[in-house]
Symmetry: C2
Subunit: 407 residues, 2 copies
């Protein structure tokens, strides 16, 4: 087998060695579109150490509960995903259906159901058409291939308009390792039910107890930065699977190898985060809010997320309205402690506020707000801590998308 | 003077005896509309006991800071209000301008500047055109009349489409008293800068120390129920002025008279709250979320407000999309503790969820979501506490209004 040719084909989660994916059109949405991909299965040739970050919503979808339980049991070897139905708020039947999805994937992959994680995304409160889903899982398992990284990312999509994949490589102890990922986002900025799912794979060998802290740290700096605090969905799931197929000694806590892996996982998740926000429902542009000078990290983070989530900031950016006062107002209600006369706000590279309004050309601010990717830089002048958040504009299209989601 | 004739003319804040108002078009917006009312002055014939509830935003507009300080000093006799400019984030100049507004109103009303409260609403971060404002205040003071209750409510408006006034009467100790109010709202549901202002007057005699708790309790049950928690503007102000012109012994803590006043103030503020939400920016319908069965009041309130503020609930209602799963998802992320299998959700009179989805006709839910005024009733099954919140739909028009607010 010519490794370079094989590596040229795979994308996303199939880039790390030993991972294959399969997809199917199971017609879960029942909308007459018989060809829309809505089931994906990811399989590793070896059992994987696994870490997960899940929704903090009290209302957890059945697949989230099942995957959390499975994850505690030990290593896993496959993940099964469907879009079009979140299997959330579906009562006892929902749990039976989620378990049946694991069973079907296990049968198709020749594994034990306890080695399969399950993710769902889509509408809440409707029973899963489980017979169609199971048929789809069988089809997906029959089609497992290292070339299905992109189709797997497509099968996760709900109102996403493009697939979201990323991958990178790193060296450690003289060996080359890969990290790959895919995500679905869409209504991510208000992800009550947009149900962010992200799956990251690596062929690195990692000691189990150190994988979870790596993923938790990376999530806080990447995908959680596009999450309005607390505004998680019933289904949000981020998984990291490490199958060790690239060999070597297991990476341990505090090692240079683990640090290199963490950087690579960060790079993949940071890219997925920006892809998610750039393709948010109805978004025409996206922006990053940096908050510096926070009294502590929690305050810096709250300030950045409050600005990024503010409907009035989002609409001002949509219309390229030079209404920077809304940024200051959002900082003020974020819970962060600061003194207004030490606060400084930049839009693009233009200082608009520095304890008092700066005389600025409104057209220059308008131009800054007209970019496809906008930087808003705030200094609270209250300490040394900083954080960032990703946001997108709020458009009439967002309203149209969400006003008739189920119909 | 024939009291019945006089009482037939006044409206809103001029209904209680001894209050007069004056308005002017000061051309604060500089938009070519020379006739748009943007300054109002309210004057009482006697010094008033006064209570106030102000924004919890760390960034407080200059008029808020000045009014809070004035309120601590003792009784007041006038309030001066402008729309079109919030005088927020305007540095030291903003404080000078707010004080100059008080001075101009004091001059025009023959009072001391320390007897005048000041409120501003409009765009943030622009210096007040103080010369025009001062001229407007002089004109308003020259036109004081008991008939200017409606024009005063009009002069407060920003993107409001209709004026918001309410009044009622009550009997206590054999005497008849009145309570009147006016408010401006508009972007109230996300009031970062929509800057809710509300002014309530009464001719009842009230002991100073009991007036503030009355207003605080009423605000929590009325105008604060249309406020997303923490999502207050830089300018939010609710004032209650009691001039005692209707005579009688001062109402004291625990008295039947004070309870009657509180009911009347509640009635006026509850009406203003519903008027505000019904006229929210871009709103085509509004809804009330009742949350019962909360473990404590704070949780019930958080749950109700989270549902009412959820962009996905608001867009579903806009499109009459029977997507009730979003209500359950919002309850789940609200911070309220409950068990999903004891949770029950009704939309209109239709039970859509009761531990598990109920089989309901989507068209019936669609019809419920098509009403101009919608009731959403949630029982968390976790305790005895209940709370409500007002919300409105999120429309494309909201985006259009806020995408070019300053331009």
């Amino acid at each position: 087998m010519n490794a370079s040719v094989v590596e040229a084909i795979p994308a996303g989660v199939c880039v790390p060695r030993g991972f294959v994916a399969g997809v199917a059109a199971a017609h879960i949405r029942d909308d007459g579109d018989e060809r829309r991909l809505d089931v994906a299965v990811l399989r590793s040739e070896r059992p994987c150490e696994v870490a997960g970050v899940f929704t903090r919503n009290l209302v957890k979808a059945a697949p989230v509960v099942i995957s959390q339980l499975t994850l505690r049991q030990g290593r896993v070897q496959a993940v099964v995903i469907n879009s079009g139905n979140a299997n959330a708020c579906t009562g006892a039947q929902g749990f039976r259906d989620a378990l049946q999805m694991c069973k079907a994937a296990a049968d198709g992959c020749d594994l034990d159901p306890g080695q399969v994680l399950v993710c769902s995304t889509g509408v809440i409160g409707r029973p899963l058409p489980v017979d169609r889903v199971v048929r789809g899982i069988r089809d997906a398992c029959a089609a497992l291939s290292p070339a299905a990284g992109e189709p797997a990312a497509r099968a996760m999509m709900t109102t996403d308009t493009v697939i979201k994949i990323a991958n990178t490589t790193f060296e450690a102890s003289g060996r080359r390792y890969a990290v790959g990922g895919m995500a679905k986002g869409a209504g991510m900025i208000h992800p009550d039910m947009a149900t962010l799912l992200a799956l990251v794979t690596t062929d690195a060998p990692v000691a189990r107890d150190v994988l979870q802290p790596v993923l938790a740290r990376v999530a806080d700096q990447t995908l959680n930065c596009v999450t309005v605090d607390g505004d998680t969905s019933t289904n949000d799931t981020l998984l990291l699977l490490a199958n060790g197929v690239a060999e070597g000694e297991p990476f341990t806590e505090g090692s240079a190898e683990l640090a290199a892996l963490e950087r690579a996982v960060f790079e993949v998740c940071d890219s997925l985060a920006e892809q998610v926000v750039a393709d948010a429902e109805g978004a025409t542009k996206h922006f990053r809010v940096w908050v510096r000078g926070g009294a502590d990290l929690a305050q810096a983070r709250a300030a950045a997320r409050t600005v990024a989530a503010s409907p009035l900031v989002k609409t001002a950016i949509h219309g390229a309205d030079p209404n920077w006062g809304r940024v200051v107002a959002a900082l003020g209600r974020s819970g962060a402690q600061f003194s207004l006369d030490r606060c400084r706000v930049e839009v693009g590279a233009i200082t608009v506020f520095d304890g008092a309004p700066r005389a600025v050309d409104p057209d220059a601010v308008r131009a800054a707000f007209s970019s496809a990717r906008i930087e808003i830089d705030c200094d609270l002048g209250a300490g040394e801590h900083e954080a960032h958040a990703w946001g997108c504009d709020l458009s009439a299209e967002y309203v149209h998308i969400n006003a008739d989601y189920t119909t």
